[in-house]
């Protein structure tokens, strides 16, 4: 009897060992081939499943990083956040309302058809069509007409001057799609046919998306990779173990894991400053937050550097309403009055506002994101020092979005993307009629500055206006802007030619495997 069970146990162990070791024999074989001419397949692990592939309808970052390899727009940002041409070879602006783009010649869609000015016209009409419900429609609301002058020239006419127009054209969703594909499939959620360096091959839900090289790409010898596979691995520990053992080549990691992984000699951690910043949003209609002195007091009681140190492991910089990585526009906030931690002054302001003993308040945050919860806890401690007793309410993501858009919370912790133009960060989030102004914030002076900024073409003058607008916001403090985190990408050492930058963190066009 005993022998029988020993046998069972042994065979179980044997099966397990075989199952595990199967992989080793395989990789040996692959490694043998790898040396002279490595297989050009890049395996990327992402934490979220794409939410759909239609570039005009899907803002989710998990989708953008994939469809950005397949589709292209007229313009894009380079490493230094300067506007450069993508499908547009060159462009000119004959007057305030007109922009003329000359397209790169010989560009083909992945279905083999040549891309023309008609496609650009169609794509923007699709974005502006109410039926598409495009998330970027508001960016292009100033477009009056789009005209295909000839197959490689397209002319945009605006209804009024718009300084943000060129920057908005770099948006990863403002891309050129093929009409026949939209018509055949109804929308582009399940397929992708663009002009980019990679072609869409397949999407296996909650598993992987596979892209292959576009052999007809108009830039010679680009891309170098034959294949890119995006795996969805939601658990960070699984991604970490997979990149350590070489099952994947490339993944985004949190600041804390980046530090751990940094010790491994097989991989490199590449940091870049994100375009995001964390914030504390106040519903300025509700008492006591309707008094700007209370908001200023909370700002003075907030130690932003400790948020950067504790929540982000030191890998974050103090930010205003425009993230510091938008270096041309962001002001240096560290010298600002309400960024200096000063509890006495904060208490005085509270007393002036009629709350000498502080008050009780609820901070709402999303349990989905540990950094938001950590931030809330730090603020709770810091504000306690001036007598503000905060309780933290953690809610699930769907509930959070609902709370955010319906202005249900007094204080909300969150993270915003600064966008590509300061207009986004200022006008969209804080103009009294801005779509994302969920704070009930309304200030006539601020409104008029950002309205003027949107229509001022001269960059120097525009910069002055936005500096003024940022200072105004910091003074009125409808939000407390906290810190802009660094992001980290872990890359195996056999991956060459990869440099992440804020506008394109997964920029794999120049990547090869050695």
């Amino acid at each position: 009897m005993k022998k029988f069970w020993v046998l069972v146990l042994l065979s179980c162990i044997a099966i397990f060992t075989v199952a595990c070791s199967g992989k080793d024999t395989k990789t040996e074989g692959e490694a043998g081939e790898k040396k002279p001419n490595a297989e050009q397949t890049l395996k990327i692990a992402n934490d979220q499943e794409p939410a759909g592939l239609d570039p005009h309808k899907t803002p989710a970052a998990s989708s953008v990083r994939i469809y950005s390899q397949v589709y292209e727009g007229l313009l894009t940002f380079d490493k230094d956040m300067k506007i450069v041409g993508q499908l547009a070879e060159k462009w000119e602006q004959p007057d305030d309302l007109t922009y003329v783009f000359n397209l790169v010649k010989g560009v083909k869609f992945h279905n083999g058809r040549e891309m023309t000015a008609e496609d650009v016209k169609y794509s923007f009409e699709r974005i502006l069509d109410e039926k598409t419900a495009s998330h970027i429609k508001s960016y292009f609301a100033n477009i009056d007409s789009v005209e295909a002058v000839d197959p490689t020239t397209v002319k945009f006419t605006l209804a009024k001057p718009d300084a943000t127009f060129l920057a908005n054209l770099t948006h990863s969703s403002a891309v050129v799609v093929a009409k026949e594909v939209v018509e055949e499939k109804g929308d582009l959620q399940q397929t992708a046919v663009g002009t980019g360096p990679f072609k869409f091959e397949k999407w296996v839900p909650d598993n992987s998306v596979t892209l292959t090289k576009n052999p007809d790409y108009y830039i010679k010898d680009t891309p170098k990779l034959d294949k890119v596979v995006y795996y969805t691995m939601k658990e960070e520990s699984a991604r970490l173990s997979a990149i350590r053992t070489g099952e994947i080549d490339f993944t985004t990691v949190s600041a804390k894991s980046a530090e751990l992984l940094g010790k491994s000699k097989d991989l490199t951690i590449k940091p870049y400053q994100s375009l995001e910043y964390s914030y504390v949003g106040f519903n300025v209609n509700n008492k006591p937050l309707n008094d700007e002195k209370v908001r200023q007091a909370l700002s003075l009681a907030t130690d932003r550097q400790s948020i950067a140190d504790i929540v982000w492991n030191g890998d974050a910089v103090i930010s205003g309403p425009v993230a510091p990585s938008m270096s041309d526009w962001a002001i240096d906030v560290t010298k600002e009055e309400f960024y200096q931690k000063d509890q006495d002054k904060a208490k005085t302001l509270l007393a002036e506002a009629g709350y000498p003993d502080g008050f009780e308040i609820v901070i709402t945050t999303a349990s989905t994101y540990p950094d938001m919860v950590d931030t809330a806890q730090l603020l709770q401690q810091q504000w306690k020092e001036i007598g503000v007793k905060a309780t933290i309410k953690q809610i699930e993501w769907g509930d959070y979005i609902d709370t955010w858009s319906n202005k249900k919370a007094d204080i909300l912790i969150g993270r915003n993307g600064s966008g590509t133009d300061p207009d986004r960060a200022l006008n969209y989030f804080f103009h009294s009629t801005g779509s994302a102004n969920v704070w009930n914030f309304a200030d006539k002076n601020f409104d008029s500055i950002v309205e003027k900024g949107k229509q001022t073409i001269d960059t120097g003058e525009r910069k002055q206006l936005y500096t003024q607008a940022q200072k105004e916001l910091l003074n009125l403090s409808p939000n407390l802007f906290l810190v802009s985190p660094m992001n980290f990408v872990a890359v195996r050492n056999n991956v060459e030619g990869f440099t992440p930058y804020p506008h394109n963190a997964q920029n794999i066009i120049g990547v090869s495997i050695k």
Partner: protein
Amino acid sequence: MMYAYITRRLLMLIPVLFGVSIFIFVMMRVVPGDVAMTILGTDATPESLAQLRKEFGLNLPLHQQYLNWMGGVLSGDFGESMRSGQAVLPDILSRFTITFELTLLSALISWIIAIPMGIIAAIRHNTKTDFSVRMVSLLGVSVPNFAMATVLILVLALFFSYSPPVGYIGFFEDPLRNLQILILPSLVLGTGMAGAVMRMTRSSVLEILRQDFIRTIRAKGARERVIIFDHALRNAMIPILTIIGMQVGTLLGGAVIIEQIFSLPGLGQLVLTAITQRDFTVVQGSVLFIAFVFVMINLLVDVLYSYLDPRINYK
């Protein structure tokens, strides 16, 4: 007789599923947030929200929405995911095969460990062997499987430089790779399940072994193996089967956490993602499907009872 019983049980499915469908439909509408908001996020404008809601039929009165959905379901069309546009039913089915395989493997592992160990513990009642089995099973029941999974992943990666291959592949496409992917999650789930089954087997076999008929069989000079396997175990199987039925039924609804940790695109992941994104059609479809599977497993267990113990018959 049996067929009549099964038919009756199948007919009872109708009110059960109807109730579940109403419940989940209402639940999804009661929780705050909707799919249009989660899709558009900070890019939402009132117009685009309204347009999306119109597209998904969320602007219609509730009863109309329910009838539209139910009408589709009854004709075999579970609709499309509001988020990704994917057809719901084929997606559920393809994910179910993964969840099914995971459940099967976990259950096998749990039985291989639990039933023999439980029997041994019962036979060697109150000895060191019994004591160790009880300890192990207590561990199995009380260590949360997400903790065990994370530790397993980290230990294998850090000390053995091993991690399971990424990207799920079906069993029929590449059996070896498929098993490599599934063996770790199945081990974690299997050992967790084994704890409960082991305890049940031990106490149930122990109880039977103390009964008079066992003494009679022993007195007649039957061999110990015959006594244990043909008489004791068979009679002890009913409670064991109940607990196994419950475990398998639950697991078939998706092992949410384990699927997430091991990146398995199973049913649990589908439902979880759909809930956070308020993807109504997917949540409704999958919950309905899971309820159906659960009821079917219960039915199967009931039928097995009467096979194991002919005294049980359903009239």
